[in-house]
Structures are given as C-alpha cells and as structure tokens.
Point group: C2
Chain length 460, copies 2
C-alpha cells in the first residue's frame, strides 16, 4: 500500500473549491474574449534550447527538466548536458516562440489570451506554488504598435476584477520612460544602478524611509542627498483622481526627452482609459512601479485590492519593445498582463474573500423505490434539456439519507417522486438552502426551477 | 538566433483551430456538468512512487520523468534510481490517488469529470501525440455501486456526441462477465489465454476470418475447431435494434453463472439506456468489445462513427471493481469513460469533419480617423456589455485594409463610424460573411447585432 499524496508546492482542490476556481477562470476567459483576444494553448514542455535562450539567472535555476525513460537511461549510461525537454516557467517565452514560429499565419496586431499552468521549482513555502495558473493577454504588433493599445489593458483588468467581485481594486499605472527620464535628471543614468535604487526604494514600506535614505546616501550608493530627496518624493506619488493624475504629470515640468515621452504616453493612456468607461476611482498613477526592468520599456501596470494591500499586485504587466528577438529578426513590440490565479485564489481564500462554492449540480432527483426509476430518469432528461445540471440517485434508499447527501454535496434542490406524486402527476421539490418545499406539476417542473435558479442567490 | 519550434509529437493549433478545439472542450464539459459530474484537476506531475505503483509494462516505458535543476545536478554527481517526479500518463491513476487521498472529504457516489492533458513518450508517428487531452468521467461508489450507474454513461456519451454534431455514431456495449462466461464454456478458462484469443479475434477485419481461424486452431493456441467456430460467431454479434439486442441476449441461452450475470447486467443497462431517452439507433451490442482485460470487470463501452469506422473508438471505458487498491483498503468500484480529444480532433480534421472556426471575435470596430476613437471605444463598450466579443482598431488606417484584416481573421461584422454616421448618430455595419451592409442607429446597434448573431449560421 502506498500513501496517496501530491508533491509539495501543489494546490489541489476539493470539488466545491474547484468549482469556485473554475468560475474565476471562466470569468477571466469570458472577459478576455469579450475584448477580442484569441485563445492559444502551447505544450507544457518545450525544447530546452528554445525555452532557455537567456542563459543563467534565477529563472533557469527553477526550471524543471523532462526526460523520457529512454533518455534517462542514456543519461545514466554516461550522457551529459542539459536534457532535451523542459517545462515552461511562464507563458511569455512560449508566446514569443509561438508568434515567431507561426508569424506568417497570424494577423497583426495579434491579440491572444492564454490560461495554462506553468512550473517553477520554487523553494517550498506557504502560499508559493510549483505549479500554478497564469492567465495572460498580450497584443503584439508587427514592427510597431500604437501606445493606444496600452489603454485597452486597464479596461480589460477593470472588466475582469469587477466581475470577479473580490472587492475594491485600483489599477496602478506608471511608465518606464518617465521613470528613466526622471532618474537620469537626478544623475542616475545607468540602467543597472536605476534598478538597484528602485529595489532599495521598494523597501520604504517595510524598513521605513529613514533606512532607505541612509542606504542611498551611504557608501553602497553614494548619491547626493538632494537627489535622494527628489527620488523619494517622486516614487511616493499616487494620484487621487483623473484630474489629479494629469496635475501630477504637469508637476513634473518639461524635463528631458525620455521624461517628456513618458508623460505624453501616460496622458494618452489616461485619456483613453477614461474613454473606455473605466471609473476614475479605479485607476491611479503610481510612480514607484517599475516591474521587470530588463523587459518593460513603456507603460507598466500593477493592480491591488484596496482593502488587502498585503496581497500585493494581483495582476501585472506592461509594454515591451521586442517580444521574440531570440527567434526572429522581425520586430514584435507588445503590451500585456498576467494574472497568477493559483496564488491569487489561495490568497483570497486565506483572506476569506472566496468561499467554497455551492455544487455545480443544481438538482438531485431522489428515488423512493426502483419502480419509479424510469419516471425519475425522464424527469432528469427534461431538466437537462432545460439546461439544469441534474444528478439522479440510481438506487433507492431512505429519503433522509438522500437529502443529507444533497445537502453535504451543496446541491440546492431535491426532487421527490413518491406514490402520491406519481398518482397526481406532480413532484415535490425540496429547497435545501431555504429549508422549504413545494409541489408542482411534472410538466411545469423545469420551467419553475429555471425561474428559481435565475433569481439572485440569497446569501447563505 | 534559435529556430522557434515545438517538440515532436505535440499538437499546437493556430487560433481559429484552437477556437474549434475549445468549443469541443466546452461542449463536453457542459454535458458532463449537465449530468451532475463535478470538476477535478490534478497536478501534471505526481510523485513517481505514487504514479508507478504497477511495476513494468508498456506504460512505464512511456513515462516522462521530471527533475529540477538541483535534482539533475545531484543525479549527475552520482545519484541513482528513479527521479522523484513523473508526468501523469492518464487521468485514472491520478483519480485513484485523489479519491484515496481525499476519501473522507468526498460524498459517494462520487461523480467527477476531469479534462486535462496527459503525457506519453510514444514513438513519433503521424496522429500519435505525446501530449494529449483526456476528457474523463467516472462514478465511484464506496463498497458498492449499482449496475444502474452503468446505464448513465451511454446517456452522457449520447448527449456529448449529439451536440458535437460530428455525424451518426453508435455506442457499443458489451459485458466482461458475459465474455468470460462464454469463453469458459468454450473451454478457454484462463484469463490470460482469453486475452490472447481476443487479440487474435481483433484481427478479423484486417487479416480476414480464415487467418484468425488458422491461428486459433494452429499450434500457438490449439483450440478445438468447434470452439473456434463458436467464438468467431459469437464475437461477430451486433444488434440492430433494442428488440434485437434483447433477442441476441436470449439466444445465448442459460449458460454458466458468469454468462447469466453478464446477460442480466446488460439487460438492465439496455432498459435504462432506453428510459434515459437514448434513441435505439444510437446504441448496440457488440460482443467483440473487451477493453483493458486486467482492469474492466463488467459493462464495457466503445463508440464509433458509423461513416468513419477507420477512426476507431472515439470514447471508451467500462466498469471496474476496485479503483484504488494500491492506495487504500476501501473498496471503490466505479464506472467511467474517456474521450481522447487531441487525437479525435486531429482525426476529425483529417476526415474534414471539423473546420477551422470563425473567429471568437464577433465584431471589429474600425477607425477612420483618430478623432472618432472615443466614440469607437464607447460603441465597443456597449457591444461588450451586450455580451458581444468586440475588437477595436486603435490606430486609423485605410478602411479597405481594416476590412481585409477582419476577413482574414474570420471576424464577421465590421462597424464603420464615418463623418456621415457621426453627424447622423448612426453606424454602418458591414457583414463580411454575406458581403452585405446596413446602417443602424447607434443606440440600436447592440440589439441589432445580437439578433443577427443569434440567427443560425448560413453555411459558409
């Protein structure tokens, strides 16, 4: 006998949690499709040389390699080198490979969504997963892509998180050009140094502003006090309204070319975000957002839950200049975001923001004696044709036991067909959620239950 | 520069084929849920000792092992043995592990569906895939599960393949007890021998009956001619109607206990399949069906497309006595089926039975000059709120180019907002499929397009 268990770092759900998770996936997918994104799925395993084009780095340390039994035996017999196959660690590298490989079969701007699991050999830790869903959208241009596409992304984020209904959120915007321009004006011209400064600045919340100020003026960085003051003021800029956002941009003044470009882009994005109907309470400037510094080049996004800042960004991304330079000479600029749903779901559950769902089964047709089974099956048939998810008890047992099963399983309605009902051509419907019951003509059952099920749910 | 490419044995689709594939997945899922099955997802990687409980065999030769970079280095430095993680090769072993692991949190009978990809290191071959979707349902009982649940399975198969609309199909039924009983009566009592005989009998279509007869009476098997005659007649039994199926069962006579049990089970299944509303033209007895001989114990199913027998079974499964004996002492009998959708999709496409889908994007809002962009975005907003998948051209270009883009992408409607339309408060809608166009008030656009889109599609 072997103990049944999953590997560490895996989130496996019981059915009713899986239903809640699946609903979130469905909401995300529906909204992605609503905005004209097309589905793509790529294989979980890619060729190692294709996947690992960038050498070294933390990511590569986390890669899982895949070997067939044959390859394993060969390796054991003295093979060496990197195994031929590896599991994807994000959806961006597979997207780059996909677009480059199928370039001539795609129409540009290419809008794709992809919602699949990725794999990282993270250190085992609470709330960190080695297998997790990413739900990505990207718009990829050929040669060029207007900054206007950057404005669509917040509209999608807004649609998704409004429908997910997990509380008030704020889509935070920044622009890497603006950030670069500002830093250059402070004498921090080197990109690598900017990155290090930003990493220190990120610690303001945890370590306090004094600690950060000391570090940046101290021996490791040696920045002038005036520059550090400016930087620390700058990165704490948040806008409180659309007008305030524009005012904050005005307040930056003329500046250098990079700053001007960044400001112009943010202005255009803000105007269009508003035109797309995103309420101004739901987006804001945040000059501290940088994201991956070697990758993003323009607009960058983070989204946070107002009442749960400790959860961090629930959806991040930005604009990049060139998606697939490792695979093609074509220039493929793009903009996109990713929702890490597995971790988000875990965090929301921890915070009590998602609950175990009711069953996806809406009706249980009970059975009192096997003589009525054909009638029970006919009733179930009607319900299913009416679009109602229906389970039938195939073996008669005590009614109380069947009700208990329905209740435990989270099924709302139990249909009972006793001798009385058989004689009268009716059924009794027990509403287990409301602890209520009613009798209805068999021919009216499907319609009646559809009406009941369409009504907004009373809070349990 | 690295050549972008996928590993061999992978099916990766362009977006419009992915849409067609996704629709099939959606149909299968919807029907599985309609019949009261609950969603389960398990990790793609399982612990090797959990996954590979059955030692040896063809399956194990096909397993992919997974190693983190760290584990790989350790192995290179003189580690040995089987890697800790392996990719699942089906959904049945993970189901067994899942049910055993979560036994006390599940309600029985436990009805689950699972639609995920599995991995097998098959020899590279046209139409054989190393990564493929399986879409499984199973009903698992605790201690016992009535044979009546076996009758639900054909009803689910019928609902799925009716809605997939890939042509006339027949759900073929047999029963392993009946098969065993019959073989025993012919003096072939040993299970292993029965399996070998059935494998030979399977060759009737390819090699002809004479070849099979010679083999079974020849030195390898040495069966008496009379027994071989009986067996070959028996395995060619197919029923042509419900009444004929019952007559075929009658014709078997009393027989031994196993045969009687098998006949009784098939009778009950047939009666309930009919009661569930499956048309009698869509199911039949087929005494040659055996499926995995070491696993299935009662009812077995295969489903074939009447006009494409060469495709083979598109959906198979059966009844088993004990799901998870490797992991738990609890007896967990069940019944289930699997649809191997990746291979099926490939075969259907080869046979011309599925076509590249129209885009999931239903409307393209074109743009004639950037001044109208806010209006275009407002229109798109309305359409999306009406549930219409809408893409907006964010950068003005020649209209002809935008129409060409929509046409190439398979988008049906293009909405045009020119100066005239702006002045009149209307939009022009171009139906690219019908090469037709009409003008409509802006406030009426969403409603009008919903009506158009709800109409049954004219064949392209």
């Amino acid at each position: 006998m072997i103990k049944p268990r999953t590997p560490p770092g895996i989130m496996e759900l019981l059915p009713r949690d899986q239903i809640a998770f699946q609903r979130m996936l469905d909401v995300i997918r529906r909204n992605y499709e609503r905005f004209g994104f097309l589905p793509v799925e790529t294989p979980v395993m890619e060729l190692s040389d294709v996947l690992l084009t960038k050498s070294g780095g933390e990511t590569e340390r986390q890669v899982y390699f895949v070997q067939s039994t044959g390859a394993l035996e060969k390796a054991a017999a003295g093979g060496e080198g990197v195994p031929e196959l590896a599991l994807r660690f994000d959806l961006t590298v597979p997207l780059a490979r996909y677009v480059a490989e199928h370039e001539h079969d795609l129409t540009f701007p290419f809008r794709r969504y992809q919602m699949q699991r990725v794999y990282r050999g993270e250190r085992a830790q609470r709330g960190r997963f080695r297998e997790f869903y990413q739900c990505d959208i990207d718009v990829i241009g050929k040669d060029a892509l207007s900054v206007r596409y950057d404005a669509e992304i917040p509209a999608v984020i807004h649609a998704v998180f409004s429908e997910l209904a997990i509380g008030k959120f704020t889509i935070q915007l920044n622009n890497r050009k603006l950030l670069r321009g500002f830093f250059e004006a402070q004498g921090v011209a080197d990109g690598e140094l900017q990155a290090r400064v930003l990493r220190e600045v990120d610690k303001i919340d945890k370590r306090g502003p004094d600690y950060v100020w000391e570090t940046l003026t101290g021996p490791d960085f040696g920045l002038p006090a005036a520059a550090v003051d400016s930087i620390m003021t700058f990165v704490q800029v948040r806008s409180s309204s659309h007008a305030d956002a524009l005012a904050q941009l005005d307040a930056l003044g003329e500046g250098n070319e990079a700053l001007r470009e960044g400001v112009a882009e943010l202005r255009e994005v803000l105007a269009l975000v508003r035109a797309m109907g995103v309420p101004e309470s739901d987006y804001a400037l945040n000059f501290s957002i940088a994201r991956g510094l070697d990758y993003y080049t323009g607009t960058v996004y983070e989204t946070t839950l107002d009442d749960y800042p400790q959860i961090g960004s629930i959806c991040s991304g930005g604009r990049y200049e060139d998606l697939a330079s490792h695979y093609t000479k074509s220039k493929l600029p793009g903009v996109g975001i990713s929702i890490g749903l597995t971790r988000l779901f875990w965090q929301l559950r921890e915070a009590g923001l998602v609950e175990t769902a009711a069953s996806s089964v809406q009706v249980l047709v009970t059975q009192m004696d096997s003589g009525s089974l054909p009638d029970c099956l006919a009733i179930a048939n009607d319900l299913r044709h009416a679009g109602i998810n229906t389970e039938v008890v195939m073996e008669a047992s005590k009614l109380a036991r069947q009700f208990k099963y329905a209740d435990r399983a989270g099924i709302r309605f139990a249909v009972v067909l006793g001798e009385d009902e058989m004689a009268k051509g009716t059924v009794t419907v027990k509403d287990l959620r409301r602890a209520d019951q009613f009798e209805v003509e068999r021919g009216e059952l499907a319609r009646t239950l559809r009406v009941e099920l369409a009504q907004p749910e009373v809070q349990r």
